[in-house]
Symmetry: C2
């Protein structure tokens, strides 16, 4: 399928003197990354001005006339790794960095300023990435399907073959342009043919892809099947303490790295939702991760081990088992036992990418373990890229959450930036929202999440609005009305989605398997540990000290706040407490009236979003207008479905009418 | 896959003198059916006695010695079509009938008596089938899958090819042995390759199959795609009033009948659940059916037209549209407009094969239209052949329902037997429960439904217990404990299933699509028109004169009884009325207490069934014991799941505790 350029779709900038004056690029293109940096700059300038700039070696750089005429790419100590400086000097703009990635990121930063037609004169800024690892995780399967993919099929795989083509390059450019420096290309649920990705069969294509990625500063990762020695038919066991198993992995890693030397390492989902793991052999996750880490250590590889381990065969009648506790309970006692090239990848919340959850208590719990924050921009539970749901404001809240693991520098952001514990192997990963749809992300506005995620990892201090504005400017140009309208849509979208779906932090209430559309009891009598426990009098899960005790897994003052239904923040109340429908929230409303009000409000917000977007007819590309309008029409209808099902369910169950007498069925 | 013989698995009968004395068969095997009759008798006698009887022409028949030494098959006027007499005469047993099918049925009746080692001396009985058409409908797809099939894959189709083999013959023998005289071999949802069954591609195999069927008195039918002229790419329209369309069908039918002269006709599902039909062209179902009927008339063919037509895109918020009314509303006004070779096939109830429904109001409504009753022995909503659910008692109730369309001879049985209106094209059809599982029906005890259905069509006056006993005797022999135990299981099974699933006639409450396992709200907010409308105070659908008016579609006194919540039978109360949980039933219990009590009772009944069956260890074949025990273990657990989900749902919603304080979650 053909594809667009997303936010890399540069066009002629009539009358933009800052770009037009630039005639020269000075750079030493002595490596793939440097070559790509120069090429990006040159192509962009050519697009902006209609003229090719002249590219010369750095040594040929001349004093300028005072006006900005050139761009110089200068490698020089000064910035931290992957950081850059942009400044004006002697009639030129200098992109300075101590490493190639820094140069590449500086180049994109400069291009983006020009794409938005900002003035370059007097520019002087320094940027350094907050997080060492800024990764995307693709849940692409080798048959070409994408687990929880809402933008078409995979562009990495098709019919159990690996695709390397023009789209691979554009993908790498898009990622690099927002500072992504690592990508896992296959689904964490490694099954069937994907188990063979560590065998000779696929090495050539994988190496080719890893080289393209490397040219854009992206480390190439794969997901690994923990039971590979068994499933490849070579051993009877995958016991991590079995020397034969360890030897098998050592040998296998040597073979893999001989073939794909640029490989960054592996992502592993073990003992989770049916995946094999060390539990099978009575071992723990440190045993499993360390065995692989030892095998990969000689090559500088990383083992990224997911903490999404829970009992997915729970009995709904059982109120003692608490899925929310499982990540903490499984991993906390292993703190300090993992090797330095192991990173635990922890979902933002203890459940599974709901529209609202508390922050995962392993953040602030673990102090001696490398940690990576996992978020999901594939909108599995947040509208599946048919609803607009700009997630950056939500990620900001998670990153700014104080864990109180120390007196200062204790936020989730500090932890995954390496600030709290001085770690290097840490960062943030997003489950990607891309596919082979022409516009990459299905919903055109979902691209803001992809763009925003990268930007957030690099500069988490940016406001969500700022990131949104950057993306709008790059994608849709400088029209003020376009910017204001799309910014309005993006910033309204997550609050609106939260309002018209499951209330007050309780989550779920979706159609099983699909995870789309309302079904209040969809998971209530199922085995997944995801309950709301609503009855005639009230709703919510008691996770206080009198309940499952989950609230006490946090450090103070969180533990006391979450544990106390008087103090618990409204938006998480039902996550931590079972309360009567008549319970007065901090807002002064009762729980039931809050449910009714927010559901009516959420729909009104979507109506307003759709109304405002219609005014952009003729101001955004017709194709985009058509696609977005079509999805907004569905979102309007589907938001009503949510509103009516949720309100009806709780009205029928509680028997308490809406104070405002609105229509409930 | 290998297969067993079900109830045709004869064995040596040591010391059974009545069979041992028989040395001769006198018959004129002058046709396929007669040949098969003789073969059946001969094979059975050989199995019983270990000796081959001698087969002679009727003209060689000799006076006997007084003792029964022979069996004579005599065609002679006297019985109605397909009936037979069995009597002793001059040292022989005579099977007498006015047609071949009567002979065949008489032969099986005689074999079955011998298989149960009954005494033959002095035998003298006459049987005539009540219903002219006694049909099975297979929902088999050409890819080998079976829609709502719970016994493996199809034995008619595989990979879009038609299978004709030894199993085809055994199938025909099984059907004939219980009096089935028609079979539709493919799914009523005719899609993909099945549309091509009326083309040259498949004629050879279909003719071959039709000939095997005919040898056992079974008319061969197919399901038809109403839009075939369009989907085969030959016309742009399937408008029944378009002369070109009618001409196409006439030509096509000639081609089909030239190739498959034994074809009985077609079954059609039109304008239903996405299937095409005359509504597409603004025509009605009489237009559609009559056009096909005219085309098939020259060949004596029948068009069996299903009445399962309803709006499957309903809005759950809409309380005016009533799916229960749809069959009546769509077809009642067409009464008298259908040609004589059209039969309307009407499901037993207005919804869809629930564990309890009122009888379809078209029975007793229609007076000038051929009618066939459709039931389902594939246990789609009654445990999917993993739960035991012997349905014959339920079918008996349906057949004995008085419609009051006349003062006498007005039951459903009378109507479909042709007694009420003097019709010939009428009868009963069952959606079959067979597949390529070794035992044909998945659950060994589900074979009682297949056996029982055939017997019931032929002799609807038989009690359900009698039919069960026949089947047990044929299948598991004469052991008294075996008979009593299996009879207990069968007779308890439907009442138990009704008790632990959806209460008081409300139906559904199953997992969407699957139709298996509890999900009280599974269809409550969906588009299928299947709601329970439960709220905090009560439950049920108001179908009285103040509601959808459905109750008034019946003749008096039913209309007044159903319309009045004081008079409505308990088991249908929630089908017709929305009542408070505190409503006192005829039984004296409140609705809510009835729900709790029946759910606990249903589980206890299953426990007792399983306990009793365990005592048969060593008394039924080990294979059967293992299979049935395995399924009973699942049924026990799954019945608990039903009990707990239903009780919990209603306890949480009503807030009313169980009087007996049992555990509800």
């Amino acid at each position: 399928m053909g594809f667009e350029q997303a936010w890399l779709d540069y066009g002629k900038k009539e009358g933009y003197a800052d770009a037009e004056r630039i005639r020269y690029i000075y750079a030493d293109a002595d490596s793939a990354v440097m070559k790509n940096s120069v090429k990006e700059l040159r192509d962009a300038l050519a697009a902006f001005t209609g003229r090719d700039p002249q590219v010369n070696a750095l040594s040929e750089r001349k004093e300028g006339t005072g006006q900005i005429e050139s761009i110089c790419l200068v490698k020089k100590e000064g910035c931290r790794a992957e950081g850059y400086r942009l400044y004006e000097e002697k009639g030129g703009i200098v992109v300075e960095a101590s490493d190639e990635r820094g140069i590449l990121y500086g180049v994109f930063a400069l291009i983006f300023r020009m794409q938005r037609q900002e003035t370059l004169a007097g520019i002087d800024l320094k940027k350094e990435p907050a997080m060492p690892l800024r990764m995307v995780n693709h849940w692409d399967n080798m048959d070409g399907s994408i687990e929880r993919g809402y933008s078409g099929r995979s562009f990495f795989f098709e019919n159990n073959e690996i695709l390397v083509d023009e789209r691979t390059v554009t993908y790498a450019r898009l990622m690099a342009s927002v500072g992504i420096n690592g990508a896992v290309i296959n689904n964490v649920n490694v099954k069937d043919q994907a188990t063979y990705m560590i065998t000779e069969k696929y090495f050539d294509k994988l190496r080719e892809m890893s080289e393209i990625f490397a040219g854009y500063g992206i480390r190439f990762f794969m997901s690994l099947n923990y039971a590979a020695p068994v499933e490849l038919g070579e051993l009877d066991s995958a016991d991590p303490l079995d020397e034969g198993v360890a030897a098998w992995w050592e040998k296998r890693m040597k073979i893999v790295y001989d073939a794909i030397p640029l490989l960054g390492g592996f992502l592993i989902k073990a003992d989770s939702e049916g995946r094999p793991g060390p539990f099978t052999y009575g071992r723990d996750h440190a045993d499993g991760a360390n065995m692989l880490a030892r095998a990969i250590e000689p090559y500088g590889g990383l083992i990224i081990w997911r903490c999404f381990v829970y009992n997915c065969r729970q009995d709904w009648r059982d109120r003692k088992t608490d899925r929310a506790r499982s990540g903490y309970d499984n991993f906390m006692e292993l703190d300090g036992r993992f090797r330095n090239n192991v990173i635990l990848q922890i979902k933002n919340g203890p459940m599974d990418f709901q529209v609202r959850e508390p922050v995962h208590p392993l953040f602030g719990g673990l102090t001696k373990t490398n940690q990576m924050l996992e978020v999901q921009i594939a909108q599995e539970y947040t509208g599946q890229q048919r609803h607009i749901c700009y997630l950056i404001p939500w990620f900001k809240q998670i990153l700014e959450f104080r864990t109180y693991v120390k007196e200062t520098d204790d936020t989730v952001r500090d932890i995954v930036s390496g600030k709290t514990f001085g770690q290097k192997n840490c960062g943030m990963a997003a489950v990607a929202n891309t596919g082979d749809d022409e516009n990459w992300t299905g919903h055109d506005l979902a691209a803001a999440n992809l763009y925003g995620f990268g930007r957030l990892c690099y500069e988490p201090e940016l406001a969500a609005q700022e990131i949104a504005k950057e993306w709008i400017g790059l994608t849709y140009g400088r029209d003020q009305e376009v910017e204001e309208t799309i910014l309005f849509l993006l910033m309204e979208s997550w609050p609106a989605y939260e309002k018209y779906t499951s209330p007050l932090g309780i989550g779920w209430m979706v159609n099983p398997s699909l995870h789309y559309g309302p079904s209040v009891d969809g998971y209530e009598y199922d085995r997944w540990g995801t309950y709301h426990r609503a009855d005639h009098l009230g709703i919510g899960v008691n996770r206080s000290r009198n309940g499952t005790g989950y609230a006490l897994l946090y450090r103070e003052p969180h533990a006391s706040v979450y544990d106390d239904m008087e103090k618990c923040p409204d938006e998480l109340l039902l996550f931590f407490h079972h309360v009567p429908y008549t319970w007065k929230l901090g807002s002064g409303k009762t729980v039931i009236q809050h449910i009714y009000d927010t559901h009516f409000e959420g729909v009104e917000m979507v109506d307003e979003m759709a109304r405002r977007f219609e005014e952009l007819k003729g101001k955004v590309p017709e194709k985009v207008y058509g696609r977005v309008t079509g999805r907004l029409a569905h979102q309007k209808e589907h938001a009503r479905e949510w509103r009516d099902q949720i309100n009806t369910y709780f009205y029928r169950k509680s028997g308490i009418p809406d104070e405002k007498g609105r229509e409930i069925f």
